[in-house]
Symmetry: C2
């Protein structure tokens, strides 16, 4: 095979109580990569669409390029070269795992072209390397679910321990992306370096509850566990009317809601797609009343992760 097309889904990192340790993938939207083997070594990014010209074509500055280079080095095939087209379907800097999805799609594509020597979870470190270049930290809470699908717990970084957490079939997600710019650096800088013991305990309790809720298909427990004592109290300042927005989502039928990644996108979990659509409308209306345009995405939780298409 000489060329391949791959898809990797958007992801919600943090999931309220899972700050820095949890993420899940949704079925759509996602980024697409077309990759073709080339005659000369190295990664050549020939085209990027859907980014409004914002992303670098230089492979060593682009997450897709960095991930592929890291992968080729790891499998000991430095002589391989590829041409790569990246079709962005995710908004940039939105908190929906845009940089992760590009890296994940590129990794699935190159792994397919190389005859799939690595499993999807083995691709994660190469996508983390790309995150390090894009965001300054090699976090896995977007790349792991984008590659592996479903909910992924990053139990430990050294050594990397990724735990797939099963979830109820009916679980679905609303993402509402208000047209605001929040820089990841800013949203990380405002976090406290120390947290009150009571907040740390509450966060532990809720993430434990979320795990049990997901594994035992207990929607009530899932909803009640969607609380964040660590990041949300400060990050929510970036999102106009955030507390009201959460109430609106719950009144419309959501199990719970929170900030997707470092924002500004807001997510809500629901146990029914029709309810999720209603929740999405209510959230968009909320932003509209504040004169903010927003895009809404409703999707079930993705099971497969990044795939060749």
């Amino acid at each position: 095979m000489k060329s391949v097309k791959a898809f990797a889904p958007a992801t919600v990192a943090n999931v309220c109580c899972g700050f820095d340790i949890l993420g899940f993938a949704i079925n759509s939207p996602g980024d697409e990569v077309y990759m073709t083997l080339a005659d000369r070594p190295g990664v050549n990014i020939s085209k990027i669409t859907g980014d409004g010209g914002k992303l670098p074509l230089e492979a060593d500055k682009n997450t897709a390029g960095v991930a592929v280079a890291s992968y080729l080095k790891f499998i000991g095939r430095p002589e391989v070269g590829v041409d790569l087209e990246l079709h962005k379907k995710l908004p940039l800097g939105s908190g929906m795992g845009s940089s992760a999805a590009s890296a994940a799609a590129a990794l699935v594509a190159i792994n397919e072209l190389m005859g799939n020597p690595l499993k999807k979870r083995e691709l994660v470190p190469h996508a983390m390397e790309a995150e390090r270049v894009a965001c300054g930290s090699a976090h896995a809470d977007n790349v792991a679910p984008s590659l592996m699908g479903g909910f992924v717990l990053i139990r430990e970084y050294k050594p990397l321990d990724l735990v797939s957490v099963s979830f109820p079939e009916r679980l679905c997600c609303v993402l509402v992306h208000p047209h605001l710019e929040v820089k990841t650096e800013d949203s990380r800088r405002i976090l406290r370096n120390a947290v009150p013991l009571t907040d740390a305990v509450a966060q532990s309790a809720n993430v434990a509850g979320l795990m049990v809720g997901l594994l035992q298909s207990d929607f009530k427990l899932i909803g009640e566990s969607l609380k964040d004592s660590i990041a949300e109290p400060v990050r929510s300042f970036f999102i106009p009317g955030f507390d009201e927005l959460k109430s609106i989502a719950k009144i419309a039928g959501a199990l719970g809601a929170g900030i997707s990644g470092s924002g500004p996108t807001v997510f809500a979990l629901c146990n029914d797609l029709k309810i999720a659509e209603r929740v999405g409308e209510a959230m968009v209306d909320h932003f509209a009343k504040l004169n903010l345009r927003s895009d809404v995405f409703v999707s079930s939780v993705n099971k497969k992760g990044a795939t060749v298409i």
Copy 2:
């Protein structure tokens, strides 16, 4: 029925990463209560054995007495009176949930005498009231598992949300109680009021991992998640050679080990009773080398909680 006998098991609170939010019950040892309906109102504690004369016979100062009084008030039967004998089989102040077991046994006994109007999880608040009297804080991480059995997550206190977490059949526990005195107040006082963000995140990750390990019967994950970034780093100073003890337990085959409650008892989880016995011997030997006598208890995890016998 005029009289009844009840049993409530010892418990391990905290379970490393579940600081202040998690506990589990073991099959033995446990406390026993004999209770008889009396002709006059109030709780009369006629006899306590096994405490070396240390526990108060005054009902309003004894956890069993306080729990029964709280229960009778709640069900609106202030005219009821009981005579109560308490047979302590748990060492006092050991970190094995001794005060909790007495309250739990007394509550199951009085509930039986009253025709079981309350479910076991509904008895928890009355046992918490007893903990408030005994320890100064109405914590639930011993009383909830002693009453309900198994692993219980206290996801939230206000309102109280108790989550039973299923666990693998083969899971068993070693408790080694070194003959040391550690006051709960001391072991609480040395805790920091704030924790570094990185420690809070690690704690969340491990308790999430433990929940997944228990629910998916993943012994490796259970073992790797038995880490405590919050209490153990300071509380372990009270336990001679603690780090070495943990290594010894793991070398002998334990999945992991930690401090039971606020200590000084140390627990280890194993996936086999024979291994657990070997682990117990190794831990006792460790303390013996430091000229410390210790008692060892090996038991599978209790499923039923407190019961009438």
